[in-house]
Amino acid sequence: MNEMNEVRKPPVATTGIIGWLRINLFFNWTNSLITLFVIYCLYQFIPWILDWTIFSADFKYNYLGEQITNQEMCSRNLDPENGGACWAVIYVRFYQFIYGFYPKVEVWRVNIAYFMLALALLPLLYSKLPYRKYFLYFTYIFPVIAYFLLNGGLGFTEVSTNKWGGLLVTLVLGCTGIALAFPIGIMLALGRRSKLPVISMMCTLFIEFIRGVPLITLLFFGMVMLPLFLPEGIDMDGLVRVLVAVTLFQSAYMAEVIRGGLQAIPPGQYEAAKSLGMSYWRMNLLIILPQAIRISIPPIVNTSIGLFKDTTLVIIVGILDLLGIGRGTLADTNWLGLSYEIYFFVSLVFFIFTFGMSRYSLYLEKKLKTGINMGAD
């Protein structure tokens, strides 16, 4: 009897590290072959990349111990055998990468804006935050504060957007584009599904037109044509014009993403809401949209990441974003030829932001799945 009660352990080969390895990496012979191949590639690649990016790289001083002020002083240009990456260019140009040409005496304003951005995102990202309600109030007024902080006014010296650059422009374009496109996109999606022919036609036209042209065209449109549509004498800021173009572009895509979510909601939900006597807006706000947006999270994040990366196109209309500053640096005769370092750094910064966004979307999906339980799951 005793022997019967004894809990028998599962076979060694299916548990623990060995089991995991067997199931995931060496399940059958093709699997094993691929695993070995990948390990070989990593073995070849990782030491080289680590050596290039870290161990033989110059950060501020070259191997002679001199502080690097131009590309000729980089170890790899002094002695090709001796050097890896020359990060000194990033070190020297860090200010420009992060703030562009923002005046140094006023830069604290940008720093505060960066900090406040993090603070404003906090209640959106983390729903268990204590006093979340008050933080949310802050989030709503943050764009206004940021506008005055960055641009000037209310006692701050004005800093023309022509002096903005680098990460600052990338974040302003990305955040504003994403934040504005979301509500506009919802309205467009609802409009396109509306039963009123004028509204639905206008929304459809708008969406199809904007989606039908490349972002570059819209940027040119914003830069070159938009001033024509304004009354004479009104001078519209270059960055604002680009922002308008980016927002229009993103809203059209966002609308289609959300419409996809709306279409996945079973008609029963609409009927149930209507049978309770809800108005159109109450039905959408309380019943339909929360479910539709929940379904649409992955594509919403997808297009947002797309937009964040597409902001680099603004260089075509002469605005120096993070990538633009990188290219400007490459044109400085002191730093000719350091394109690997600069592009590596720029892509790293972009990766940090986009990876953060995609991890957040995963977290959101997990969290919301455990929330309401709905038929469509």
């Binding site: 090709p80 020297v92 022509n162 500053i325 044109a331 400085d332």
Partner: protein, 367 residues
């Protein structure tokens, strides 16, 4: 009145764009596409320029708006402190000095090959100093006025030394990296057609892209202005591995330009450039300019504003040229500091030497 013309223009342009699917062609061929748009702007710019001269606008604003590249080695690029430096940047600063007597009274607006002309036409910048080639169509048809040449460039070819080619006529069947939307693209097609040889184009957007493609062997030849080739070669880890072929297949006179129709402003920009060239001719430099104030050469005295009232004619202060030379330097100083043999670009004076020294740099007399 003006507005209605604009709208009619817009409508025509829009219809053509839709029906001829012109959009794609326009996008691929940056310059032609802008003509219609610019005709609209010419009207608009005219409507505005009728109100006040650019010089007055600049003076009232308190600073000059100058269009430069987003970054081109030696011509305009931000330095480590975020200050724009280069031959074209100096040109902008010289005009700012002429108007305000202060080299910092200038705002640099970055423009690309595609956005430069609309930006100037719409009045967003007062002038362009953006390594722009002076051609008849740009001067006449686009409604701009080139006021001079601050760099004589020409299109050349760079190949790997290992390719064993000594002349561009031997490049039959080569893959050529070529920047789209520029005059170089058209020159290249002309040159190959003239010599009865074929090539395969690898379109690129920036100089940097061309460099990477050439170094990686994706194209056999990189063609752009000789100044661009110099910076590309300077950026190579081993410059000797690359060779610039002797053929210069085009004239590329690069110079500052302004909008049509405002001659007073055109004169200010033209003579800011000429003053730098004349200063080199006369041997006036930023270092000896104060001593030259008591020179016995009449033209020096006229240039520095000791004699005559040339500043007044331009509606500038009488020491405008003195200030340019004092704060920016003469042409030679600007050249040597930005692109000359002592910089990594190592571009010899060549055509850009004074006419008295074997080049073609020549300014009308200062009298």
């Amino acid at each position: 009145m003006h507005k209605s013309i604009i709208w009619i223009n817009l409508y025509i342009w829009y219809r053509e764009a839709i029906f001829e699917k012109r959009y794609l062609n326009n996008y691929l061929n940056g310059e032609n596409n802008m003509k219609k748009l610019l005709s609209i702007f010419a009207v608009l710019a005219f409507a505005f320029s009728a109100n006040a001269g650019t010089l007055d606008d600049v003076k009232n604003r308190g600073f000059l708006k100058c269009g430069v590249t987003t970054g081109l080695a030696g011509f305009a690029a931000p330095d480590d402190n975020g200050e724009w430096a280069g031959l074209d940047a100096d040109m902008c600063r010289a005009v700012a000095v002429a108007v305000f007597g202060d080299r910092s009274k200038v705002e640099f607006i970055t423009t690309t090959g595609k956005s430069r002309f609309p930006t100037l036409a719409s009045g967003e910048v007062d002038m362009l100093a953006r390594n722009t080639t002076w051609t008849i169509s740009r001067d006449v048809n686009l409604g701009f006025e080139f006021v001079g040449v601050n760099f004589y460039d020409g299109q050349g070819f760079m190949v790997p030394s290992a390719l064993g080619v000594s002349s561009a006529t031997e490049l039959d069947g080569a893959t050529v990296c070529i920047q789209t939307g520029t005059t170089t693209e058209l020159n290249l097609a002309d040159f190959f057609r003239l010599n009865g040889i074929s090539y395969e184009a690898l379109p690129i957007e920036t100089n940097d892209e061309g460099k990477e493609n050439l170094f990686a062997g994706r194209c056999d030849v990189y063609t752009t202005d000789a100044s661009g080739l110099s910076s590309t070669r300077a950026a190579a880890s081993n410059p000797d591995k690359w060779k610039v072929l002797p053929e210069i297949i085009s004239k590329e006179p690069l110079g500052p330009l302004v909008r049509h129709g405002d001659h007073q402003w055109g004169d200010v920009v033209r003579w800011s450039l000429n003053a730098m060239i004349i200063a080199e001719e006369l041997g006036v430099t930023s270092e000896n300019v104060d001593a030259q104030m008591s020179s016995n050469v009449p033209e020096v005295l006229r240039l520095l504003g000791v004699e005559g009232n040339y500043g007044e004619m331009l509606e500038l202060s009488n020491d405008w040229a003195y200030q340019i030379i004092k704060q920016i330097g003469n042409y030679s100083e600007s050249y040597e500091a930005n692109v000359g043999p002592d910089t990594p670009l190592e571009i010899a004076r060549g055509l850009n030497a004074l006419w008295t020294q074997g080049g073609i740099l020549y300014a009308p007399p200062f009298r």
